[in-house]
């Protein structure tokens, strides 16, 4: 029963992954990617990673919803209604992807994997929490400033008033004429 469920999820995850780059509609592509993530999340739950599996599903479904909005916002047209090729270098991309798959699959099948060392904790979520708050706290302390720096970098990049308080990133652009003084350099 477990094997049947696993292979069903495996087929769904890979097929929906392929569908991302096959379907015309951008919205359908994001939904296909969300389905792939949900299938992988369920597979993670099947190997005992309940917490990781659930946050993968929750995070990716939300992320794909945001991605669908970005797609519609930036594309400016619907490729499903106006078919056009949005790819380049398809042949070499396929060759490289197939070569990588053969290499990884050969490694997965030919390497004599060692036997399992140790047994999983009785309460896996609690053991993860204890690891984060104990010996692995440095990892979380590192991730926190990285995420904060990402927020700052994202805001700086998307800010329409770019370097030296000018409109845009070009230094030849005029500075903004604010009705109230107090901005940078004013």
């Amino acid at each position: 029963m477990i094997d049947i469920l696993f292979w069903a999820l495996a087929v769904v995850s890979v097929a929906s992954g392929v569908a991302v780059f096959v379907v015309d509609s951008m919205a359908r592509a994001t939904y296909a990617l969300a389905v792939s993530f949900i299938a992988v999340g369920i597979m993670l739950v099947m190997v005992g990673l309940e917490y990781i599996g659930i946050i993968t599903i929750l995070m990716m479904v939300m992320e794909m919803a945001i991605m669908a909005v970005y797609m519609v916002m930036f594309m400016g047209m619907n490729p499903a209604l106006m078919p056009m090729d949005m790819t380049h270098n398809k042949r070499w991309s396929a060759v490289l992807a197939m070569g990588t798959f053969v290499l990884l699959a050969a490694g997965a099948l030919l390497i004599p994997w060692p036997a399992r060392v140790g047994a999983p904790a009785v309460d896996l979520v609690a053991s993860l929490g204890e690891a984060i708050m104990g010996p692995k706290m440095l990892a979380m302390l590192t991730i926190s400033p990285v995420l904060f720096a990402t927020i700052i970098a994202g805001l700086v990049i998307v800010n329409p008033r770019g370097r030296y308080d000018r409109w845009g990133d070009d230094l030849k652009h005029r500075p903004p004429n604010d009705p109230l003084r107090g901005g940078l350099g004013q």
Binding site: S13, L33, M46, V47, I55, T56, A97, L124, A131
Partner: protein
């Protein structure tokens, strides 16, 4: 369900994502390819954790991979927004200033 079977599925996901990241022109589609690659990495890491060494450390590694996905998405959206504003395009081919 064996380690080899899960790794084969993870390899397939990684390679489909690799094809997408290399072949797509639209930046958001490239990001989708990268996400699919990381999807395979998460699955493989989960399988390694369960079948080889189910200690809590492996779960922390998975959390780090998920955090890396978040950073990649946030910066990708920021760059896509900047490119769209400055050039009116969301294609990778219009951002080749540093190539060569």
């Amino acid at each position: 369900m064996t380690l080899q079977a899960v790794l084969l599925v993870a390899a397939a996901l990684f390679c489909v994502g690799l094809y997408g990241a290399l072949s797509q022109k639209v930046i958001v589609m490239v990001m989708m390819g990268l996400e699919l690659m990381l999807n395979g990495v998460i699955l493989a890491a989960g399988a390694f954790w369960w079948f080889l060494a189910p200690a809590p450390d492996g779960q922390v590694l998975l959390l780090i991979v998920i955090a890396a996905m978040t950073v990649e998405m946030a910066m990708g959206f920021a760059v896509a927004t900047l490119l769209h504003r400055s050039r009116g395009s969301d294609m990778t081919d219009s951002a080749t200033d540093l190539s060569g």
